[in-house]
Every structure is written in structure tokens, then in C-alpha cells.
Symmetry: C2
């Protein structure tokens, strides 16, 4: 498998964590989003959306959309599971992951921030305010949904990491780039720390990638 991705992309980070949790090996192929490398004709042939990550399978099939790939991973490589077995528990874990994946990341990814700068003249301070606003709008209820729920354990659901933890882990790394105040989110911080103590997550972190800082 070839993982087409970018060290700092949080959708890439969440997928790397999922691949690592499954114990799957992959060839790492980097695309600098800052340099627009995911907009190249070669990459657009793999993924017409021009987004990372994409996962290229050994038969040449290309999977896109990180959350869809994580679902595929869980179906094709069931152990260890990213989603619990119980249907209502699965719905809870997906909803927690989707809160991050649908309500924060799409608003705060590089192409949106770049559009706000180029088209609407946002300066760095305005970008930081925008980024922080959408993190807070979701992390506040997410903290409540995690902190107040009996199923929350060392991780989002029980004591094993999974789908939602991958999403949160990647988002917290992203938050650090914009110095988001994490003090209001003790449960999220605890889960992040528990993830980061695991090799599967630490190896997925942005700064652990070969293209970091290039």
C-alpha cells in the first residue's frame, strides 16, 4: 500500500494512526500542500479532489476520504477494531469522530485558510481567530459528550483506542499550530495524552514524518 499524504494534514495524521493501530505497513509518499503538490496532474489522476490522504492498494485501487478509508480498514482488517461491536456504541464513536471530522477540520484545513487569506484578505490574526472559533464550537460540546459519559475510559470509548481517538489526536496536533487554549478540555487532553503514549499514535504524529519541516 502507498499512503499519499502530507505530514501536517490532520486527515493524514488520523489515517496514519489508524493504519498503525492495525499494524499495517505502507509506503509513505509525501505531497507538500504548501507547494500545491496535491494539485499536480499526476495526483489528480489518483484523486480528482486533489486532497490528501489517498490510500493506493497493491492492485492499484485508490481509496479516498480519510474517514471512508478508516471504515474500509475496519472491515478488511478487523483486529484490533477501530469501532466497537455494539451498534449503539458504534454510533457513539462515529458521532464523536464525525464531530471533529465534519465540524472542525473542513473549516480549518489549508485550502480554506488560504482562500480566506487570498480572497478575503485575512491576516494571520484573523486566521487564528477563525481556526480557534471552530475548534471551540465543537471541542466544548465534545468535552461534555466525553466527560459526562459512562463509556468514556482511557480513550473515547472504553480503554482501547479507535476511530474517534484517531480524529481527536490529529485535531489536537493541528490546534497546537494555532496555540489554541486547551485548558477547558481536560478529558480531551487526557485522551490525547493516552494516545500519544502509544507507539501507533506517536509514529503518526506530524513531526515524526519524513517530510516534516520540509
Amino acid at each position: 500500500m502507498i499512503l499519499h499524504n502530507f505530514f501536517r494534514s490532520s486527515t493524514s495524521t488520523r489515517l496514519r494512526a489508524a493504519l498503525n493501530l492495525k499494524g499495517l505497513e505502507y509506503e509513505y509518499k509525501a505531497y507538500s500542500l504548501v507547494k500545491g503538490e496535491a494539485d499536480s496532474p499526476d495526483y489528480l489522476r489518483l484523486n480528482p479532489q486533489g486532497l490528501v490522504p489517498s490510500l493506493e492498494l497493491d492492485d492499484g485501487t485508490v481509496l479516498t476520504q480519510s474517514l471512508a478509508i478508516m471504515e474500509w480498514l475496519d472491515e478488511q482488517h478487523p483486529e484490533p477494531p477501530l469501532l466497537p461491536a455494539d451498534p449503539l456504541a458504534r454510533a457513539r464513536v462515529r458521532a464523536l469522530g464525525h464531530a471533529v471530522g465534519l465540524e472542525i477540520h473542513p473549516l480549518n484545513n489549508l485550502r480554506v485558510l488560504t482562500y480566506l487569506k487570498r480572497r478575503h484578505g485575512f491576516d494571520d490574526a484573523m486566521v487564528k481567530t477563525w481556526f480557534t472559533h471552530w475548534v471551540e464550537a465543537t471541542f466544548a460540546p465534545l468535552e461534555q459528550m466525553l466527560g459526562g459519559h459512562p463509556k468514556t475510559g482511557d480513550f473515547c470509548h472504553g480503554d482501547s483506542p479507535g476511530f474517534a481517538d484517531c480524529c481527536i489526536y490529529a485535531q489536537v496536533w493541528n490546534n497546537r499550530r494555532f496555540d489554541v487554549d486547551m485548558a477547558p478540555y481536560p478529558t480531551i487532553n487526557r485522551i490525547f495524552a493516552n494516545c500519544d503514549a502509544l507507539d501507533a499514535f506517536a509514529r503518526a504524529a506530524p513531526m515524526a514524518q519524513p517530510d516534516a519541516l520540509t
Copy 2:
């Protein structure tokens, strides 16, 4: 079941279509997002994110996040399926739905447009340009991913409607509010028309809801 939703919300529309495809009955409870009714303390107790839709089950369990609810529906009520059986086909259908659900809707929903107006002084023309930009950024590759794929049939994947069709159907309704030019998307238009010809979709359409225009 009680569906907490809003007629014009495209996440609500996609979930209504999925519920109708499954042949499931639900009590309709409307929350005017324009009036901020999803921010009421009563609703926030059901869904701390203050977003619609939420699906309240008969035992009081509340499910949130439309795509997560659709996955739960498909697990609990397998027939007719929203996702195909083959793992790679499932990955394709999820990716098509996520292209809409993650790359368009989160940028174009009411709370984001309201924030752009209030915080950044966007007027109606600027909002329309913003909305249209993010539709085009995804609909152009989506048209390519659908039009050029051998599995695309009357619907996104074969000749039965499912997960991705629900997402596209809802988005096209949303586009109409902003007069998005749909001429470049013949495959998407064909799929929308095929959906709209089905009772399950037509009954899910925004203007078919009891709170429409209120």
C-alpha cells in the same frame, strides 16, 4: 423514533431520505435554525453540539451526526442497503458521500454563513460566492468520479439509491437556494432527477416538510 430536524438543513434532508428508503416511520420535530431553536437548553440536553439532525430512539437514546446515524440505520435495518456489500464498493460509496458531507456542507451550513455575515461583514453576494466556490470545488471532481466510473448507474453506485445519493440529493436542493449553475454536472443532475422521482426522496425534500416556509 423522533427526528429532531429542520426542513432546509441538508444534513436533515439526507437523513430523512435514508429513513424513508428504509421504510422507517418517525415523529417529525422541527427546530427553526433561523430562530436559533437548536440552541435552546432543552435541545442542547439532547445534542450538546446544538446541531440538527438528531434521532431519538424509543428508549431515549439520542443519536447525532447524520452520517453516523445513516451507518447505524444500515447496521440495524439492513434492507434495503444504503451501502453495497463489497468492501471496495462500500469504500467508494462512502467516499462519494463524504465528498459532499465533509467538503461542501460543513463550509456552507447556516452557522458558518451567519458567522461570515456577523463577524466578517459578508453581504448576500459574498455569501453566494463563498457557497458557490465550495460547491464547485467538490462538484467538479465529483462529476468526474461519477461520470467516468463503470459502477455508476441510475444512481451513484449501480441502479439502487443509497448513502451517497442521499448526500447528493440534499446538497442539490441546498444549491438551488443559491442559484448554483448546475450545467457542468450532467451525471449529478441525472442522479438527482432519478432520486427525486422516488417517493422516498420526494418525501424528504425540504419543501415537503411540515415546517417549510415557516
